[in-house]
Amino acid sequence: IIGGSETPDYAIPWQVLLSRNGQRGGGMVIGDRWIMTAAHVVVVMGNPVSKETIRIYMGLTDVNIRLGSPVLASSVHVHPEYNNSNSVNFNHDIALIKMQDSVTFSSSIMPICLPAAGATYINGMMGLVSGFGITEIDDRRILTNKMNYVHLPVVTQETCSNSITLLKRTRNGVPSLTENMFCAGVPEGGKDSCQGDSGGPYSLREDGRFWAAGIVSWGIDCGKQGTYGVYTRVANYIDWINKTMQEN
């Protein structure tokens, strides 16, 4: 998280830390046996990782203090249309992990709500993104062991698309924005999600409840002026999420 703050205990109890062969990723609790994350966190070189390599940590804000024993995955369900073998296609960047054991919820572990069907993403609405990914201290990017968060507004598809188009002129291999994605961030930069936050939650609050609006997916650099973070638009996947959980 760039430009954010350390998360107090119990403030984002649905945040999950995923560890896969030393690589960090994020996730969010959506049920007592289900974790939602980005597909690219559990797919490497076009192949899903084995469930045994995934370690799931919940209920912590400081990896050093309360890491504890990981929860194990019993199955991994990647969206069937996710196809990102060349790392430039983040469309359908969503996956579900089923845990071997159910979790009892408490102040430290709580599920985030799923969006209602047809939920709207209002431009400028402030969302909350969090993770254990790269942060920035004294202009140096470092990996933090503490959960960080930052409030970022929703950006219109047009604004985001324009920024990506602009970047594509100077860079190769820039992924494309699709209707299954949305952007959040500030044009002046300095606040953003970053590497290691992938799969983590971007939540919007409505009627006193946080709901999972997005999944940290991709972006050009982190916190750079004129760039925005790109998130999987969860509202587009409610049917698939419910179907997957019911069938498993």
């Binding site: 403030a11 984002i12 007592d32 009892t104 709580m110 599920p111 909350l128 968060y149 946080f210």
Partner: protein
């Protein structure tokens, strides 16, 4: 050689002179020995008799004998002046035997060919009872009552007497023995006539346990006594009443004891008279009553059926518990209970208790719990409410889930719509919010 059995005597038959209805031959000497069963006598009836007539039936004759005694000697023809014709009326024999001897001389009259006789005989019942007393001093056939029967007779005795083994004489009867019927009548020998002297009779009334005997002296009660200041003394004649485990009581005098409740199922009566004095006797009716068991009392949280004012031997009672209670006996639950009043005046089973039922622990609720709104120990009519571990879980539907312990020992929801409570997680509401006050 083996003797052939005597032929069974016939009940009737016919006898005819030789060659009948052809004329008989001269110089005949024919004999017929007729017999019928014992207890009967023979009656013979001549259907035809035509024998040469002579004075005193000197030449030809038919002679009837019973044990060498001549019953009659016949000859001649019917309605003839000569001879001695038997006529058509039956001729009885004194016993069950009759001998006929037909005898003819050596010549027959030439003008009239006599054909002899033809007769029918039959057995007729002998009225032994009307026979005169034998002269040998053996006494009458029956000492008291003679009953004539077909072919025989029976002797019987007057009330208070019984027939001796000789089947003809009678002896005074005590009427004693064991009386095991539930009610009956006893009386002194010969009652209401005075009994003979030196009577020693024993009567035992013994009915099955569970019944008690009550004596009720009716009508005459007169047993010779000696009156004393303390009451009648019974030195020579008495009726002694003996009840097990109690002192025997001697009864005498002229005043009836009336009703005596023995409270026992066995009573022995010994009637004694000596060879002097006079006691007219006594009679009594006895009845029985079933013993009584204690009143079962009122059952807490249950009831006894049927409800009676008193319970007697062989009465059954049943116990049912009120709704929400169960029958308990010796620490065990029983499905049903009944007990019977025994002969020892006790119930064969002690009454059970009615304990309140319980529904056991309510089903646990995952991520929730249950609290008692009323009642305790999961007893009948206890009310519990399910709740979820808030704020992390909430009840599905969001309404209060209240269950009551019902009589079928099941927790039933007060609202029939609820099948079972479920706690669903609360999402998106952290217990701590991130606030930023700096502007």
């Amino acid at each position: 050689c083996r003797r052939l059995p005597d032929p069974e005597p016939l009940m009737h038959g016919a006898v005819q002179s030789p060659q009948y209805p052809q004329p008989y031959s001269p110089n005949l000497q024919e004999q017929w020995d007729l017999s019928v069963p014992e207890g009967y006598q023979i009656q013979i009836t001549f259907t035809h008799l035509d024998i040469e007539a002579s004075t005193g039936c000197y030449y030809d004759a038919l002679t009837l004998l019973y044990d060498a005694k001549i019953l009659g000697k016949f000859c001649g023809q019917e309605n003839s002046a000569d001879g001695h014709h038997p006529g058509s009326q039956p001729i009885p024999s004194p016993g069950n035997r009759l001998t006929l001897i037909f005898q003819t001389d050596d010549n027959n009259p030439e003008r009239h060919q006599n054909v002899g006789f033809s007769a029918q005989y039959q057995a007729t019942d002998v009225d032994e009872c009307s026979a005169p007393e034998p002269r040998d001093g053996s006494g009458p056939l029956c000492s008291q009552i003679c009953l004539n029967t077909v072919g025989s007779y029976l002797c019987a005795c007057h009330h208070g007497y019984e027939l001796r083994p000789d089947q003809r004489s009678c002896v005074l009867s005590c009427g004693g023995g064991i009386f095991d019927e539930l009610e009956g009548h006893l009386f002194s020998p010969g009652y209401p006539s005075p009994p003979p002297y030196a009577v020693s009779c024993q009567y035992i009334i013994s009915v099955e346990p569970g019944f008690t005997v009550t004596l009720n002296f009716t009508d005459i009660f007169h047993i010779e006594s000696t009156d004393t200041v303390q009451g009648p003394n019974c030195p020579h004649h008495w009726l002694q009443m003996t009840i097990p485990d109690r002192e025997p009581i001697k009864l005498c005098g002229g005043k009836s004891p009336g009703q005596i409740v023995t409270n026992s199922n066995t009573v022995r009566l010994d009637y004694h008279t000596d060879d002097e004095g006079l006691s007219q006797g006594w009679s009594l009716d006895y009845s029985t009553h079933r013993v009584k068991c204690p009143f079962p009392g009122n059952m807490a949280n249950g009831r006894v059926t049927p409800i009676l004012t008193e319970y007697f031997y062989r009465d059954y009672i049943f116990v049912r518990c009120d709704q929400g209670y169960k029958l308990m006996m010796d620490g065990q639950e029983i499905e049903a209970f009944s007990t019977m009043c025994q002969s020892d005046e006790k119930w064969h089973l002690t009454l059970p208790k009615c304990h309140i039922i319980d529904c056991r622990e309510p089903e646990p609720l995952l991520n929730g719990g249950v609290t008692f709104l009323s009642g305790f120990q999961n007893q009948y009519r206890s009310v519990v409410q399910y709740h979820c571990n808030e704020p992390f879980y909430t009840l599905l539907g969001g309404i209060n889930v209240v269950f009551t312990c019902e009589a079928d020992r099941k927790w039933r929801p007060n609202n029939d719509i609820i099948v079972s409570p479920t706690c669903i997680p609360v999402c998106g509401q952290p217990t701590k919010l991130i606030y930023a006050y700096q502007r």
